[in-house]
Symmetry: C2
Subunit: 139 residues, 2 copies
């Protein structure tokens, strides 16, 4: 499956470049969400920090990755699932989990965000849920 990264880029009408493939590979290999810094650590020797900023921005706009809000000024990113990428729409309604022990943030793809009733007059466009606690590996 060495082509997977390339395919994602082609599907999103992006040119296939070394840095983009590398960053996608990092995401594909990761079992958790990554902050800019994490990616930099893994490939700053090969690619410029600015390129990483721009690449993440591009991926975000194309819906290849989604971002996960945080309270520590370290927005993290994770690959979107197939549906997301192919439709260009975010079906990103799963819960995110941040482990206080190992610090990893993961997508709980199987846990849907429950419905909420907003007060009259509010319109919902997007919803985000982040749970903190101890993950199953650290238990």
């Amino acid at each position: 499956m060495k082509k997977q990264g390339e395919d994602i880029l082609k599907n999103s009408a992006l040119s296939v470049t070394a840095s983009r493939k590398r960053i996608l590979d990092i995401f594909l290999a990761a079992d958790n969400a990554l902050a800019h810094q994490d990616i930099e650590t893994k490939c700053a020797d090969q690619y410029d920090r600015v390129t990483i900023y721009r690449t993440l921005q591009t991926f975000l706009e194309k819906g290849i990755i989604h971002n996960i809000p945080s309270t520590d000024n370290m927005v993290r990113y994770a690959l979107c699932n197939e549906a997301c990428i192919t439709t260009g729409h975010h079906h990103d309604n799963h819960v995110h989990f941040r482990c206080d022990a190992c610090g990893k943030t993961v997508c709980l793809d199987d846990v849907n965000i429950p419905a909420v009733n907003l007060p009259r007059g509010y319109t919902m466009k997007e919803i985000n849920m982040v749970v903190n606690g101890i993950c199953k590996s650290c238990k």
Copy 2:
């Protein structure tokens, strides 16, 4: 009610200083959550930027304010309610709403975060929910 800010500080065993009172007043007067930058805009002429960082940090530790996760690297803060402050525990289980039109982030104190079932092995300590959309003022 000019004493309200002072009372909060005393309850939290913090010394009452001009900058702390001022920052609390800003929060008390605000109808939405504030980022560091917002506060700076309102009082950087009077108080040092560093003091603002440290004050927010202190308030956070004492449970006077809580922070609201974001995807834009602008963590916002809002006053905790009474129960929070007096017990020192966060009962901060309300939903936050960010308006895409006016950009304001508010606490929906009346909307509780619904329960979620985490996968086996995960323990929940804290939960955060942020909804994006259009608020009632911008509708």
